[in-house]
């Protein structure tokens, strides 16, 4: 939906590719546009559209893409860029949600959690999710690229080819990163639980 400069994601995507000087700032704008769209989508999805469905992160990202980007003018590269930013935004949405829920549980505070926010997200165990978030932050310090690969794969369902394009590395590198990351993360997660 091209309804104003802030949310004209198609234009932002074009800027991202064409104007390296403004890429960083464009990426920030893209992030906030995608973040708010994902939140809205998650909310409405849970409220009415698919009541008994669990919320699927990657499905949401795809839906956000279809809603935000003028698909006729978008190309494969801009799609990859979009998903790269969306992965980060999705992670943020999920982690915010998990924190909110964990806090509500601790406080026993039924009041603080709207009914609708509880119906979805059944597939995520918030403890695992928060743990994953935490571990990814650590991984980011040791190996930024590998952390990105995980983020893109897990939270936006990007293919290895897309990840390779966004990161500007070879497909082989992404495979290797993903392979190591899965082992390493599995162990870290296992140790925490």
């Amino acid at each position: 939906m091209s309804d104003g400069s802030d949310r004209d994601v198609t234009a932002i995507l074009r800027e991202l590719q064409e104007d390296p000087d403004r890429a960083r700032e464009a990426a920030n704008r893209l992030f906030s546009a995608v973040y708010s769209e994902l939140r809205t989508l998650a909310g409405s999805l849970m409220q009415e559209e698919r009541p008994s469905h669990t919320l699927q992160a990657t499905a949401l990202v795809h839906e956000a893409y279809l809603r935000l980007v003028d698909v006729k003018s978008a190309d494969w590269q801009s799609r990859a860029h979009f998903f790269g930013v969306a992965a980060r935004a999705m992670r943020q949405v999920l982690v915010d949600h998990a924190r909110q829920r964990a806090a509500a549980k601790r406080g026993g505070g039924q009041r603080h959690v709207a009914l609708d926010s509880l119906v979805g997200l059944a597939a995520f165990n918030e403890i695992d999710l928060l743990a994953l978030d935490h571990i990814l932050t650590r991984l980011h310090e040791m190996d930024e690229r590998m952390a990105r690969v995980v983020e893109y794969r897990v939270f936006a369902g990007m293919t290895v080819g897309e990840v390779a394009h966004v990161l500007g590395v070879s497909v082989r590198t992404v495979y290797d990163d993903w392979r190591v990351a899965k082992m390493w993360l599995s162990r870290e997660l296992a140790e925490r639980s």
């Binding site: 939906m1 009415e48 897990v154 293919t159 080819g161 497909v171 390493w184």
Partner: protein, 828 residues
């Protein structure tokens, strides 16, 4: 760990992971002499090479990988193999390999691609492999949506639906691997003379059941037709190509970004089974599939298509315009059922597949009243407590209740609900008498003895006409295995009664629950069944204890939700507050175990009480019915929460009859039946219902309440006052009895007594606004009445929900303020 060291670890892991497991240690030791700690670290990580953590392969996160580069088992470490050469007409892939599928033969060609039989080399099983024609998927975005839809369909798991195993594009071809079904399609099995009525109905029941499951998951077939329905051995129908009609559906003008995935366009498929709304290019929903089902049933019964023509255009015109000739040879009920499916206006059809199913069931019962062995019935009695400890009573009842719950999810088995089965057990009757009382042909009884951490259970199945033992078994288990034991006993009974181990509709989530929490839960159920205010308090404490031990105990959340819901009806606290609590626990229960039918029904109930969101109520019940259509709890809740408020009284009464059939001795079921008959203005039947309740429980307040309501409706005010005064005394002045008594006083001209029931001004005790509202209506004081009715909506008093049909409101129906009330409840 520093970046540098981590980079080294990465290299070590990659190299070592390629080695056989036994060589890894030697390799790591040899290259990490300088850093034994890193060596240990690497080995610890390598131990996780195979078992990837759940969250990294969880369905929700990973299955939906768009381009299918990630296969369902999460293994995609290797770069893709090059795509096999694509052949021209799709026929000569035979003998070739696509990914891990070896193509064996060709099953058929369709609009979207070619279907082959193939061997899945990885899992060594035969699959049907649909290889999509690239151009059939259109541009990248249509393809994206199509694959997304196909993935949604792949989550359907129902015996009546062809299972989609895998959707993969990693080889460069879009393929869909599906369950291979050996058998003809329905299209090949409809003779020109038609199919016998009973067989048609049996097929129809299977189709409706499968549709209900898919619709509940949010998936509409859109292209249901005989050639999409496979007949597997044993006359089991399987619907193929769910949601795949999406493909042809995406006509070129629908690429607007604002259109969501559920948008619809024109389908170019077989027009003869297409609903009018689909033919007209309008939005379609689940009811469109029900139209198609109607077309199929019509064709099966008559041997000819409901809509036909020489060209696609002629058929579409017929779908839009014609009413097919009536089915002269079919029984009237069956004809009416098909006719209702074929209504042009979706609003006039059945509203969900579960309703079609229920209607077919009814036809089947009328059509063949005695199907020998087809529908066995069983009552599970509480197990006898053979331990010295009284506390083990909880276990005895709990075990029986859980077996009842598992059995109700099995198709073709009529199971008596807990309340009735337990009530009859208290009467000390013999098998034959129980059989007559409950109308069942078998009973399950047994005993439980617990010592320490072990439990010994005996169970026997007794035939009720002659008292013959059909089956018996002894079990000796650890306490912690009680849940598995329940499934095992239910499975044995199903095997004995139906001759096969029925496929459970619902796979119970086997939660690992600490025995202490499980026990607290069972104790809570025991108290809750007793129903008094004191017992409810105890039940609540037990559930809270269970949840303190196991915060994710789904059944405890469900039970607590049920308890709060119950409290909301008492009128002793503002309902809105307790309903909110109830909703919270119901939502938590569903969050943990999405398959809890009764929790879905309860949450739908609460949608009604709290939001007056009738669409949401409908959706919730569709899901609940799809999960467990036989549950009397689901059916009775649907009657009073979905159908009754909307004024759909005939359907509500039919649902309630069904529920009473499974739970004939429950005072609550009779109460709701009484209420529905009262709203439907059938005083004689209300009075009958009240008398039956008094027979069941002579001093239950609601029994006298229903009787009094019947008298009031019949204009027999003196008798009404007597019965309602008694009810109000027995209930301790609860809102439900006090309000009806107040109204009746007014009708009987006893104004002073009516006024005495008004709450004392300034009192801090909560009184349901329905009481003063009824007082003022009885006294014909309209302004005051409206003030309190308004307040009733504000606090979400459940007694205002039947507003559309409540006879008490008859004198105010012409007042514009009544219309306002309706609007506020979204019922206008």
């Amino acid at each position: 760990m520093s970046s540098k060291r981590f980079a080294r670890l990465r290299e070590l892991l990659l190299r070592a992971a390629d080695l056989p497991a036994q060589e890894r240690h030697v390799y790591l030791e040899s290259v990490c002499k300088d850093d034994p700690e890193l060596c240990r670290e690497a080995e610890a990580i390598l131990a996780h090479d195979q078992g990837t953590h759940e969250i990294l392969k969880s369905d929700a996160l990973l299955h939906r990988m768009l381009d299918g580069s990630l296969r369902p088992d999460g293994r995609d470490d290797e770069p893709r193999s090059p795509a096999p050469e694509r052949d021209r007409d799709g026929g000569d892939l035979i003998g070739k390999t696509i990914g891990h599928h070896n193509i064996l033969g060709c099953l058929g060609k369709g609009g979207m691609g070619v279907v082959y039989t193939a061997r899945d080399a990885r899992l060594d099983r035969i699959v049907a492999l649909k290889v999509m024609r690239p151009e059939s998927l259109g541009d990248a975005h249509k393809r994206l949506r199509f694959l997304q839809e196909a993935r949604a369909a792949s989550r359907l798991n129902h015996p009546g639906i062809v299972t989609i195993y895998e959707i993969d594009s990693s080889t460069g071809l879009d393929i869909i691997a599906m369950e291979y079904v050996e058998g003809p399609t329905l299209a090949e099995r409809i003779p020109t003379g038609g199919v016998p009525v009973e067989r048609t109905l049996r097929f129809g029941r299977q189709l409706a059941d499968a549709l209900a499951a898919a619709h509940a998951a949010g998936i509409v077939h859109r292209d249901l037709k005989p050639s999409n329905i496979l007949i597997a051995p044993g006359e089991r129908l399987k619907i193929a190509d769910f949601g795949l009609a999406k493909l042809s559906d995406l006509s070129p003008d629908t690429s607007s970004t604002q259109r969501t995935l559920t948008d619809d366009g024109i389908v170019l498929g077989t027009a003869a089974y297409m609903s009018p709304e689909q033919a007209a290019g309008r939005a379609v929903d689940a009811r469109s599939d029900l139209f198609s089902l109607g077309c199929i049933l019509y064709e099966m019964l008559s041997g000819r298509r409901a809509f036909d023509g020489d060209s696609q255009a002629a058929i579409i015109a017929s779908v839009l315009r014609d009413t097919p000739p009536p089915l002269a040879d079919a029984p009237r009920m069956v004809g009416a059922l098909v006719e209702r499916c074929l209504q042009k206006n979706p609003e006039s059809r059945f509203q969900c597949a579960a309703d079609v199913n229920a209607a077919i069931e009814k036809c089947l019962r009328v059509d063949s009243p005695n199907e020998p062995g087809e529908r066995s019935s069983v009552a599970v009695l509480p197990f006898a407590n053979m331990s010295a400890r009284e506390e083990d009573d909880y276990l005895c009842e709990g075990l029986a209740e859980e077996i009842i719950n598992v059995l109700t999810t099995l198709p073709g088995l009529a199971v008596i609900a807990r309340t009735s089965a337990f009530a009859v057990a208290r009467l000390g009757l013999d098998a034959r008498e129980i059989g007559e009382r409950l109308g069942v042909d078998t009973i399950l009884e047994g005993s439980v003895r617990r010592s320490g951490g072990r439990v010994r259970v005996t169970a026997q199945l007794v035939e009720t006409t002659k008292g013959a033992h059909l089956w018996s078994e002894r079990y000796d288990r650890e306490m912690v295995d009680v849940l598995a034991l329940e499934d095992e006993i239910a499975g044995a009974i199903s095997t004995r009664l139906r001759g096969d181990m029925a496929q459970q509709r619902r796979v119970r989530i086997q939660q690992k629950i600490a025995p202490a929490a499980h026990e607290a839960y069972l104790e809570g159920r025991y108290h809750f069944a007793r129903g008094s205010a004191e017992a409810l308090g105890r039940a609540r404490a037990c559930y809270e204890r269970a949840l303190a031990l196991e915060s994710d105990f789904a059944l405890a959340h469900e039970s607590l939700a049920e308890l709060y819901f119950f409290v909301g009806f008492s009128g002793t606290v503002p309902p809105r507050d307790v309903f909110a609590r109830s909703a919270w626990h119901a939502a938590r229960a569903i969050e943990i175990d999405e398959t809890l039918a009764e929790a879905h029904a309860l949450l739908a109930n609460l949608r009604k009480e709290m939001d007056y969101d009738w669409d949401e109520v409908h959706r919730g019940f569709c899901r609940a019915l799809a999960l467990n259509p036989a549950s009397p709890v689901v059916r009775s809740r649907r009657a009073i929460s979905e159908l009754m408020p909307l004024g759909r009284m005939d359907e509500a009464l039919a649902e309630m009859e069904e529920a009473l059939h499974s739970d004939p001795l429950s005072i609550w079921m009779h109460y709701w039946m009484g209420i529905l008959l009262f709203l439907n203005r059938q005083p004689e039947r209300v009075i009958d219902e009240g008398r039956r309740m008094i027979e069941l429980e002579p001093s239950h307040p609601l029994a006298h309440f229903v009787l009094g309501g019947g008298y009031a409706l019949a204009g027999r005010y003196a008798e009404a006052v007597t019965a309602l005064e008694r009810a109000n005394r027995l209930s301790g002045g609860l809102a439900v009895t006090a309000s009806l008594l107040a109204w009746t006083y007014g009708l009987a001209g006893q104004d002073e007594k009516a006024r005495a029931l008004l709450p004392a001004p300034g009192s801090s005790i909560y009184v349901s606004p329905i009481v003063p509202a009824y007082v003022h209506i009885g006294l014909r004081e309209w302004d005051a009445a409206f003030k309190w009715l308004d307040r009733a909506i504000e606090v979400r008093d459940p007694h205002i929900v039947p507003i559309k049909t409540l006879p008490i409101l008859d004198p105010i129906r012409d007042d514009p303020r009544y219309a306002d009330l309706l609007r506020r409840m979204k019922l206008a």
